[in-house]
Amino acid sequence: MIAILDYGVGNLFSLKSSFGVIGAEAFVTADPEVIRKADRLILPGVGAFADAAEKLRASGLDSVLKEEAAQGKPLMGICLGMQLLFERSFEYGEHEGLGLLKGEIRPIAEQIPQGLKIPQMGWNGLIIKRESPLLRYTREGDFVYFVHSYSAVGCDDSLLATTEYGAELTACVGKGNVFGCQFHPEKSGNVGLNILKAFCETEATA
């Protein structure tokens, strides 16, 4: 069973449905007991980093997440949820993240040449950097759907895939039992569903 963490950020309908079509049972929940019982966790999120980080802390789910991740339970952050896994973000100030992955969140404006539109909105190809169980069904160049103005930097030790948008931006990360997608797998057609399927097949780490 998969727990999709509901901490008051964004619409989780498509995400829940996408697990349904790949035959996985998923619950949208804010209940720490359900989260502790779940086999796998999804940290979703859209909007601003500071607001989401604050809501996660206020709900008390930040410590539940850290405990569960420390016990080796597979966890995947999506979009802003992925950004929250890192140490800090520089979106409107400096804000602390969960620190489950090494690296920080920086504006893509600092990383790409001028003239490209921000946010990056649309379908872009994946450039695979490292083999991972998360990408077992994913091929080089597969297209996924992005909507973002910030991305992770300094995350070489967890980098799984990038995407080319004037420069290579972090698209997918994973280390041990902690994974993250900057793009929206639940909006990326079959390629995205396959990434969710692969996540459902990841093993807990000891």
């Binding site: 619409n11 449905s17 601003a48 946010p119 909105m121 190809g125 080319e164 057609g189």
Partner: protein
């Protein structure tokens, strides 16, 4: 490299797709859910559902089909039509819409774009503008293109983007339905004025019209059309194959 998006638009009334649609193999398709799935399977990068219902019952049917679509189709879904308040945003977002497009609602209440952007994020708010030349000036039209608001269109679009619209659909009334190609002159002016994704609408009649659009105006991010896709005059899979052959980034 980010790809150019191809977006079919479905007009929905009382829970059914407007205009008889006839596909080989599929026969008559009036269910928006089936049609959405068909497009998704055949390479559409995104879908627009446009609610042209007038009644409350029709509106309830619309949210039902929206929910059903979002539960089975996993590409971005934009919803427009009858969006007049942040409560309307809320209603369709809860049913699985990813983006919400405002047109007459923003003309009636120019603060709507800003309010919605603050609540749901810029990426969620799409400004849709129906534009027509009147005495050589681009004017914004309301009520499905029937009423001249008198507002200069480029300034209106710039203002809404300034308020937080994260994407702009430019529908040229002058080229709409003519099938002689997109309104390149109008689109160029919009691309010069704003730095958010621009979606071209109105005028596509054949594959070459999309090729010309993307080759002439690199600032245009997506092409939207309705009947040419519904009637099978242009197959999305063929269109995207041709785009790729012509060196236009396309998701295949």
């Amino acid at each position: 490299m980010i790809t150019k998006r191809i977006i079919p638009c479905l007009d929905v009334r009382d829970g059914r797709v407007v205009k008889g649609i006839n596909f080989e193999k599929l026969g008559d398709v009036a269910s928006p859910v089936d049609l959405a799935r068909y497009y998704s399977d055949n390479g559409a990068d995104e879908l627009v559902f446009y609610d042209i219902t007038a009644s409350a019952e029709g509106r309830a049917l619309f949210t039902d089909i929206l929910t059903e679509t979002a539960a089975t189709v996993f590409i971005p879904l934009t919803v427009g039509g009858g969006i007049n308040s942040t409560a309307d945003f809320d209603r369709v977002l809860k049913c699985g819409a990813d983006k919400v497009s405002v047109n007459s609602g923003a003309i009636r209440d120019p603060s709507l774009v800003g309010k919605a952007a603050k609540l749901y994020g810029d990426q969620c708010v799409v400004l849709s503008a129906d534009v027509k030349r009147v005495d050589g000036v681009f004017r914004v039209f309301a009520k499905g293109g029937r009423e001249n608001t008198g507002m200069e269109a480029i300034e209106w679009i710039r203002r809404c983007v300034g308020e937080g619209a994260g994407e702009v659909v430019v529908n040229s009334i002058d080229t709409d339905g003519v099938k002689q190609g997109f309104d390149l002159e109008m689109l160029e002016k919009v691309c010069e004025a704003v730095h958010v994704p621009v979606i071209a609408s109105g005028g596509a009649g054949k594959i070459e019209d999309f090729i010309t659009l993307f080759k002439t105006l690199p600032g245009v991010d997506a092409g939207l059309a309705a009947s040419i896709f519904h009637f099978g005059e242009v197959k999305i899979s063929d269109l995207k194959q041709t785009m790729a052959e012509q060196g236009i980034p396309a998701r295949l």
